[in-house]
């Protein structure tokens, strides 16, 4: 395994991770909820009184983040190489998978692991595994 030192950003990534952890902490302690993005979005499909506004507010925060970031510093590189067709297939799989599996990188990968949940550990190992395998197949077997 060769480490890509050129793209490695330990400080920014650690600090960004701490911000994600702070947001998760704030949300758990003040709102009493898990900051799991797929769950927050997915819950909108089952609207209940008093259960929608906070979801929209959280999503609005995520949408506004790059804009707020830009007013303090220049936005780091954001590069999407996938074609429209790949994006559609990927989006469908992510939508179906995260709802069936009750969580994504945030709900299982951050919140679940931080709660020492065996369920989330199994989920995280599972999506990491197929994530690694998929990239390996596309970049090294098919390319």
């Amino acid at each position: 395994m060769a480490v890509d030192w050129y793209h490695y950003t330990p400080l920014a990534s650690l600090l960004g991770g701490v911000l994600i952890g702070l947001a998760t902490a704030l949300f758990a302690l003040f709102n009493g909820r898990i900051a799991g993005i797929s769950g927050i979005v997915g819950g909108l499909f089952r609207p209940k009184t008093g259960d929608t506004a906070w979801r929209i507010a959280f999503i609005a925060g995520l949408l506004a983040a790059p804009w707020l970031f830009q007013s303090f510093a220049s936005l780091p590189e954001i590069r999407v190489d996938a074609s429209a067709r790949t994006l559609i297939v990927a989006g469908l799989l992510v939508g179906v998978g995260t709802r069936l599996g009750s969580g994504c990188t945030s709900g299982h990968g951050v919140c679940g692991l931080a709660r020492l949940s065996p369920r989330s550990l199994v989920a995280t190992v599972s999506f990491m595994l197929t994530g690694f395998v998929t990239v390996f197949v596309i970049r090294h077997l098919l390319a």
């Binding site: 758990a28 003040f30 009493g32 906070w54 983040a65 994006l87 179906v96 998929t134």
Partner: protein, 138 residues
């Protein structure tokens, strides 16, 4: 009040995604590519996030209501079933295809990228499909 905290949490979460590089699909794929030039940055994102969140959850799980007086709604499910594993394996394939997971997908939309909109449109369709199946089940 909970709306303001929710908005703030989403905002700080999104800033973290941008700063950490999680919102850059090319960087995420660099992390998932173990056999290529591997970018370990995302290990640090996970470590930073989990270290902070762990302390919060130790406090949160002892509480019966939140600091705003809301009921605590942390997950209670414990079973490891086919849906959990199959769903997560499926999610991983999609994540590996484009390097985008749900949080960063919304950040891409916020950054004004058409690719983000395409991904989120498909993701919502997938989520709606699961919802449709669950409603159809008795």
């Amino acid at each position: 009040m909970n709306i303001i905290f929710s908005l703030t949490a989403g905002l700080v979460f999104g800033l973290g995604l941008v700063l950490s590089g999680m919102a850059n699909p090319a960087k995420v794929l660099g992390f998932l590519d173990l056999a290529g030039p591997w970018d370990p940055s995302l290990v640090l994102v996970m470590c930073g996030a989990i270290a902070v969140a762990y302390r919060a959850f130790v406090l949160a799980t002892k509480r019966t209501s939140s600091l705003l007086g809301l009921p605590m709604q942390l997950p209670t499910a414990r079973g490891i079933d086919r849906n959990l594993v199959g769903g997560s394996l499926t999610f991983g394939v999609g994540w590996g295809l484009a390097g985008i997971c749900p949080g960063p997908a919304l950040v891409l939309v916020g950054a004004g990228l058409a690719q983000g909109l395409i991904f989120v449109g498909a993701m919502l369709t997938g989520m709606g499909f699961v919802e449709f199946l669950r409603r159809g089940a008795p």
